[in-house]
Amino acid sequence: MSTSNASAASAAPKAPRNGGRRPKLTLPVILLIIAGGLALFSLVRVISGANDLTSVGQVSGALQLAVPIGLAGLGGLWAERAGVINIGLEGMMILGTWFGAWAGFQWGPWVGVLMGIAGGALGGLLHAVITITFNVNHIVSGVAVNILALGATRYLSNFTFAEEPGGSSKQSPRIDAIDRITIPGLSDWLADLQDKHWFFVSDLAGVLGGLVTNLSLLTVVALLLIPVTYWALWHTGFGLRLRSCGENPVAAESLGVNVYKYKYIAVIISGGLAGLGGAFLAIVSTGIYQEGQTGGRGYIGLAAMIFGNWMPGGMALGAGLFGFTDSLKLRGGAENVHAMLLLIAILLVVAAAW
């Protein structure tokens, strides 16, 4: 039995299965769900007294932690929609951090961002060659990309960062920061409102405030990529072709779609997005490259994507949830932990009842 092939074939069916019962989430429904969720948080906050739960700082911290995960998840989504599993996201992210920092400290953060994308895309290209041209098991290839990216960046650091002032074989010199924006009046007003700790209103203010306060421009770009992905994949001919390669490549091929080309494009974009996530980590989150900086975020991104049912919105929600719990945990305090436990308990009860 050829197992190498079997597992490749098998992993594919894990991909999107939302077919017949694709829930039609219209805008009102989505808003209602969001409002419901917020009300729940609000309730938990009032009960537990953990006012940090929906504070501006908490939300903006969560956002910062969620962006790299979300970008990795978005990368995973592009690849999987074209029928390629991308376990190599982690490696592509590592390439993103390294290339982003390497270019970033020399030529400025935006060049770093571009190089980070390019680095990740390079990893994507490798994954594409192995899986698409050589038809190797996607998971094997992803694992190989991860190992190679790790080895290559560590090796390269010895010749690049180690010789720079402020750098070492493990970390890059500092990179200039990307501009941050805060909408002056609005931000303060929302922060004030949040400080009142009113039920729901303050929570809403906190969440909105977190989304408009001290935003890095790259965060804005990352956030925009979610609707852009949705539009590109579901509202353009290009996206239709790309998705058809994931749904039924033989059918696509029989209609003259160059399946190879679209898979290549998808996997390279996937790598580019993961690379952007890496660049974000290096340039925005920390300002330096550091060995082991990604710390499994590529895998978490993949998990977020699966959680989000292979849709950009769901993925963003998943990434947001990861960022939120991380942030809550890091910002600490006993109340936060209690609030989190309470939240989990309520959700469990809801899940059980349902």
């Binding site: 190498s4 098998s10 192995i130 094997v140 694992v143 991860n146 190679l148 080895g151």
Partner: protein, 370 residues
């Protein structure tokens, strides 16, 4: 048909050998490009491998990796992707060490208890993912990633001196306490060190794995599920039970992966207990194509790279060379597998066509009667 198979064997061997050569050449290119001697590091590594103490290290590491890879392979054989082997392995080793340190039993019993606890804990932790998958349809990829993180927190909590762990005086480490000598697994004394006794158990398990997979009904069901879950289900395999069983077995084997180190060397679980074994196990299982022999050689290869590269930095070479080489080897080997497989398939199809056209099909009853 016999000739067919001999050719296949030759093809099967040619692939990996060629791939290794390609990986070495590519690594040399990387070295050259970074202005390093392209041969010297390999010479150093092979030199290192000629020392008996390094050989012992390699063998011992192979045992651990072998178990971790078997755990992954059990899942892979039916298309379950158990990323959680690392967490299962750590939690199992930790709890087994706790229990082992807490009791005092005659030798074999003590060891058996520790081993069984490790298997149960590993199986339990993997079983959670299995249950989530069968009852809630949660992807095991997601749940095992999460379970790895939870295992980390759980261990950190359990090992606090205020809970079950202890802090040896003057140390900044936390441990589970030492397992008394009755719980140590006898080792094989050789020049260069001790080969952990459990390493042999690991290799024996490879045979069990082969036997279960190829000679039992359960193994057939497992492989059938991996080859085609729909066909397996129609053939009478209970898919859910299968998923759960496979996860439990995978977890139990993952639990064993910590035993060579725990019973043979550290006799306690501490912050220093090796991590990442489960992830290396994934690489090895894939490299060894989930076959017990393949996994053995893959584990040996990876251990070889690990151990012989350890001293490279003392000779002025970056250790990362070994990591790069490992990545290149994985790529080269799997690409070659695939090329060989496709070539073999084409050949087979052509042969089938040719033989049928030439009328060499197995004689049918009717024809035989003529």
């Amino acid at each position: 048909m016999r000739k067919f198979d001999k050719d296949r064997l030759l093809l099967g061997l040619a692939g990996p050998v060629l791939a290794l050569a390609v990986a070495f050449v590519l690594t040399s290119v990387v070295l050259l490009a970074s202005d390093r001697d392209p041969i010297e590091p390999f010479r150093l590594m092979f030199d290192a491998a000629s020392f008996s103490d390094v050989q012992v290290l390699i063998i011992n590491q192979t045992g651990t990796y072998y178990l971790a890879a078997l755990a992954v392979a059990v899942g892979f054989r039916m298309n379950l992707f158990n990323i959680g082997v690392d967490g299962q392995y750590r939690l199992a080793a930790m709890v087994a060490a706790l229990i082992g340190a807490a009791v005092e039993l005659p030798g074999p019993l003590h060891i058996a208890l520790i081993v069984i606890v490790a298997m149960l804990v590993g199986a339990f932790w993997a079983g959670i993912a299995g249950i989530l998958k069968t009852t809630r349809g949660v992807s095991e990829v997601v749940s095992t990633i999460m379970l790895n993180a939870i295992a980390t927190s759980l261990i950190a909590w359990l090992i606090l001196p205020s809970n079950f762990g202890e802090q040896p005086p003057g140390s900044n480490d936390l441990t589970t306490g030492d397992i008394p000598e009755s719980g140590w697994f006898p080792a094989l004394e050789v020049t260069g060190g001790e080969i952990y006794g459990f390493t042999f158990v690991a290799f024996a398990l490879g045979f069990v794995y082969w036997f279960v997979l190829n000679r039992t009904r359960f193994g057939f069901d497992l492989r059938a599920t991996g080859a085609s879950s729909t066909a397996a289900q129609a053939s009478g395999v209970d898919a859910k039970k299968m998923v759960l069983t496979a996860m439990l077995i995978s977890g139990a084997v993952a639990g064993l992966a910590g035993m060579p180190t725990l019973l043979g060397d550290t006799h306690t679980y501490s912050f220093n207990f090796p991590v990442g074994v489960g992830f290396t196990g994934i690489t090895i299982a894939l490299l060894g194509r989930n076959s017990p022999v393949g996994i053995f050689f893959a584990a040996l290869l990876v251990s070889f790279l690990d151990k012989t590269s350890a001293d490279l930095d003392q000779h002025g070479y970056e250790k990362e060379i070994a990591t790069i080489m490992q990545g290149l080897i994985v790529i080269a080997v799997v690409v070659s597998y695939e090329l060989v497989r496709q070539y073999g398939l084409r050949r087979q199809q052509r042969k089938v066509g040719e033989e049928l056209a030439a009328g060499h099909a197995l004689k049918t009853a009717k024809e035989a009667a003529k």
